[in-house]
């Protein structure tokens, strides 16, 4: 059974079909890339799966449970972690506290008024930070970090509730090519270790073609292709979308 099924999902913004009748599935442990030019509807798709936006039509299933109409926090409780296109962390907390908050919430202890938060689940948080290579920065204020590092923190936060599905919207935006590669590689290893399914968007085609198990392509809100790297590379419609604008895959990624 699929971990996530998206069924004929649609969303319009004042006449613009941001997402139009999109359907796809993610299997367990699958590393699925969602690609497409800017404005294709990728973030909108993420926001609907994550509960931030309500779809106009269609359905979203986690396992066999429909999650339409649920709030982001309820969807998170079903084991869906998320990183944002514009990285979002708690700037007034240290790096490790950011991760601790996710762990505390996962344990249902957010309303606790007595035990100091900084002492709760610190060990576990440090472990998670070590996994994303950020253990050294644990006690620094998170707002002081470089953008690429913030993305790693987000990843550690997203892993805190042992998700079965990870949604990563442009996890490498704003990173140098080398860093991009490293981060996606890291995610891929974690995914294989833990059997998590991942849906991610990424502009660098090199990265996508080398790591993704499968690729789906959005253009103007429509799903135009679904397949492995070779199939997507040779797909005429995809070539039209990217090359039709006179751009190569690489240029389109800038």
């Amino acid at each position: 059974m699929s971990v996530l099924s998206v069924r004929s999902l649609s969303k319009t913004f004042g006449g613009v079909h941001a997402v139009n009748e999109v359907s796809f599935d993610i299997g367990k442990g699958e590393f699925l890339a969602l690609i497409g030019p800017n404005g294709a509807g990728k973030s909108t798709t993420f926001n609907m799966i994550n509960g931030q936006l309500a779809p106009d039509a269609g359905d979203i299933l986690i396992g066999d449970k429909s999650i339409c109409g649920l709030a982001p926090r309820d969807i998170w409780r079903l084991g869906v972690g998320r990183t944002f296109q514009v990285a979002a962390t708690f700037g007034s907390m240290t790096v490790v506290e950011n991760v601790q908050m996710a762990l505390i919430s996962h344990a249902g202890r957010i309303l606790s008024l007595w035990r100091p938060a900084a002492s709760l689940y610190r060990e576990r948080a440090l472990e998670l930070l070590a996994q994303v290579g950020m253990a050294d920065a644990a006690d620094r204020p998170s707002r002081e970090l470089a953008y690429g590092d913030v993305k790693r923190i987000e990843l550690a936060i997203a892993l805190a509730n042992d998700p079965q599905l990870l949604l990563m919207d442009e996890p490498t935006a704003g990173m140098a090519p080398r860093e991009r590669n490293d981060l996606i590689k890291l995610v891929k290893t974690l995914v294989i270790e833990r059997g998590i399914s991942v849906l991610f968007t990424e502009h660098s085609m090199d990265v996508v073609f080398s790591y993704a198990d499968r690729i789906i392509v959005l253009a103007r809100g429509r799903l135009i292709a679904d397949g492995d790297a070779a199939a997507i590379r040779d797909n005429a419609k995809v070539r039209e979308v990217y090359f039709g604008t006179g751009k190569t895959f690489q240029e389109a990624s800038s």
Binding site: Q52, W76, S92
Partner: protein, 632 residues
């Protein structure tokens, strides 16, 4: 009551709406373009009445009156331009809270300037030349001038509407209201645009105030009374919408007129005098609209241009040094009753300071870590104070029981108001909390039979052994220490972290399963509850409680205390409240112009000292390379 009396009140309401429209339209235009809520707009309106009065008296005759009104509008417009250039221009990029406080400082300064120039007496202007008579409507006499007012507001609305639609300036203004970046990109001189808009808004307020000269006396309390109404109108109508301002002005004025027209209603078991609830009614209308249509009847959701506050450091447990310092201060305070035997005033002052500390610490709890800038914390102070006083007076509760009940009464109020407040943010939250505080104020002011009206409740004296000022001081000290430690504990617990999480990034907080609204609601309730303790202590310390003690100035005092100490530090509110309460008791009591003094303090804080005392000290110690607890 008769239908004709009813209709007469309705027409009367229309003429009241006229003044409301002018001030609200100006407020709304300014907010639309500059995103500043100008609390001093009521002051400009008030200045309009005073200046028009002087012109009418000095020049005299029809020229002095009608010419004076036009001239007044121009003068107030010029004053507005001056304010924009000298002050507001410096704070467009500042956090919203600072903008609100800076314009409130102007209220204080302008009020004292007016007092200095015109004196404390009410000044009634001459009758309007040419419109001094009255017409008979529904069997009653309506001044012709009121009819003129009814006509002038829609006339002005039409003129403004066409000016905005047809002129280049108007198009620029509308573009700026929708998208500020775009105007910058078009190469428009933003500074000139902002100054002109502020001048235009000020002119409208001045005109509205000037038009009142033949109807109501110029009065020093007008500024705050009118800005309260104007807030309600702007929020109901929709920020930035002039037609909305007109519609809302009519609705509000008519609701009030309706209350007066209904008058006393016999409900069988008790009779209610609706004319006493005009203030309550208007704020209820506002609360309903804000909940149903958060952007007002004709407003559009505003683009998110919330300025972010200064980045904040992680909180750290108190350093040994801070703990020591706290212990030393506590010992000194415990010894104060012994030392103060020769000067009992010291204990009274000390008790005032402790009450202020509880008040400010509870406000800081939601303002700082919660990011909710409440402009109505006086409400919970008032609920605590009146709750305790009335429970003792009317229900015969013993003093300590009444004091214990104070936070519970405040808690109930905070749970109710907070539920609405956390649904909004930024200036809308500020205005809604202010509105709730005004409801509480209006209730105690207008419900004479229960609360004693403007006289308040008197004879609320503490029972033995707390009737001695030393013992009462120690009681207040115990409450203050407990409140500080408790709130501090909460802030270090997951709950406090969750409050900050919801403030730092609601998106991320929700994405890790935190129900931000619920957390902020509970935070609001806790703060209100603790604030109620301050209110209860206040009532027994003074032996009385009156509406004056819970007015909007108390809310603003709280904001100033928090800022003075430093909003980003946990000891800030304690330091700020202490310094401010001592200042208030010593320096400010010495001068008649304490408002202006307070205004200047606020402006200095906002413009030069945004971190506050504790904030500046802690960044100083950090700079000196010491490992002192950053935000402790």
């Amino acid at each position: 009551m008769t239908l004709s009396a009813f209709l007469f009140q309705a027409i009367n309401g229309l003429s009241t709406a006229s003044g409301l429209f002018f001030i609200a339209a100006g407020l709304s235009l300014i907010f639309g373009v500059t995103r500043i809520v100008n609390i001093a707009h009521g002051s400009l309106y008030m200045l309009g009445t005073y200046i028009a009065y002087s012109l009418a008296m000095k020049i005299g005759g029809a020229v002095g009156f009608w010419g004076g009104i036009v001239l007044t509008a121009l003068i107030v417009g010029a004053i507005g331009a001056l304010i924009e250039v000298v002050l507001l221009r410096r704070i467009y990029r500042a956090p919203e809270l600072f903008q609100l406080l800076a314009t409130f400082a102007l209220v204080l300064v302008i009020n004292d300037a007016t007092l200095w120039l015109w004196g404390p007496e009410d000044l009634l202007g001459p009758r309007a030349p040419g419109l001094a008579g009255a017409v008979e409507i529904f069997g009653r006499r309506l001044p012709s001038y009121d009819l003129f007012l009814i006509v002038i507001a829609p006339a002005a609305l039409i003129v403004l509407h066409f000016a905005l639609a047809k002129t280049r300036f108007g198009r620029l203004m509308r573009a700026a209201t929708q998208d500020r970046e775009m105007v910058g990109a078009l190469g428009v001189n933003q500074a000139v645009l902002f100054t002109s808009v502020f001048a235009l808004g000020a002119m409208l307020a001045g005109l509205g105030g000037a038009l009142q000269v033949a109807r109501e006396p110029a009065n020093l309390a007008t500024d705050l009374a009118v800005i309260g109404d104007a807030f309600v109108v702007v929020v109901v109508g929709g920020m930035g919408s002039i037609s909305g301002a007109y519609l809302a002005a009519i609705i509000i004025a008519e609701v009030k007129a309706l209350c007066i027209a209904i008058g006393v209603v016999d409900l069988g078991f008790m009779s209610v005098n609706f004319s006493k609830f005009t203030l309550v009614a208007e704020f209820i209308v506002m609360a309903i609209v804000l909940i149903a249509r958060p952007y007002g009847l004709l407003g559009k959701p505003q683009g998110n241009v919330r300025s972010v506050a200064e980045p904040e450091n992680p909180i750290r447990p108190a350093t040994p040094m801070l703990k020591m310092l706290g212990a030393v201060i506590l010992v000194l305070l415990l010894a104060l009753p012994l030392m103060a035997q020769t000067s009992p005033y010291l204990l009274v002052l000390g008790t005032d300071v402790l009450i202020a500390v509880i008040f400010a610490t509870s406000l800081h709890f939601i303002m700082g870590p919660g990011g909710m800038h409440s402009f109505g914390h006086a409400a919970y102070f008032g609920l605590g104070a009146y709750g305790a006083a009335l429970l003792m007076k009317l229900a015969g509760l013993p003093m300590l029981a009444a004091l214990l009940a104070a936070p519970l009464v405040a808690l109930i109020g905070a749970l109710l108001f907070g539920w609405f407040a956390v649904r909004l943010s930024g200036v809308y939250l500020a205005m809604l909390t202010l509105a709730f505080a005004q409801i509480v104020w209006a209730l105690v002011f207008q419900w004479e039979g229960f609360t004693g009206g403007s006289n308040g409740v008197i004879g609320v004296w503490p029972a033995a052994p707390f009737d001695k000022s030393g013992a009462y001081f120690l009681l207040a000290l115990a409450c203050a220490v407990a409140a500080i430690l408790l709130l501090r504990r909460f802030l270090f617990a997951p709950f406090g972290y969750a409050m900050r999480a919801g403030r730092d990034s609601p998106l991320r907080a929700e994405a890790i399963g935190i129900d931000v609204k619920r957390i902020h609601w509970l935070g609001f309730a806790i703060a209100g509850c603790v604030c109620g303790i301050a209110g209860g202590l206040f009532a027994f310390a003074k032996g009385s409680i009156s509406p004056e003690a819970i007015s909007v100035t108390r809310s603003i005092d709280g904001l100033v205390m928090v800022l003075l100490g430093g909003i980003q530090t946990l000891v800030g509110p304690v330091v700020g409240a202490s310094v401010y309460a001592v200042l208030q008791d010593t320096v400010m009591r010495q001068t008649e112009y304490w408002r202006a003094l307070l205004g200047v303090i606020i402006l200095v804080l906002v413009l030069a000292f945004p971190q506050g005392i504790a904030g500046a000290l802690s960044s100083l110690t950090r700079k000196l390379g010491r490992k002192s607890g950053g935000a402790a």
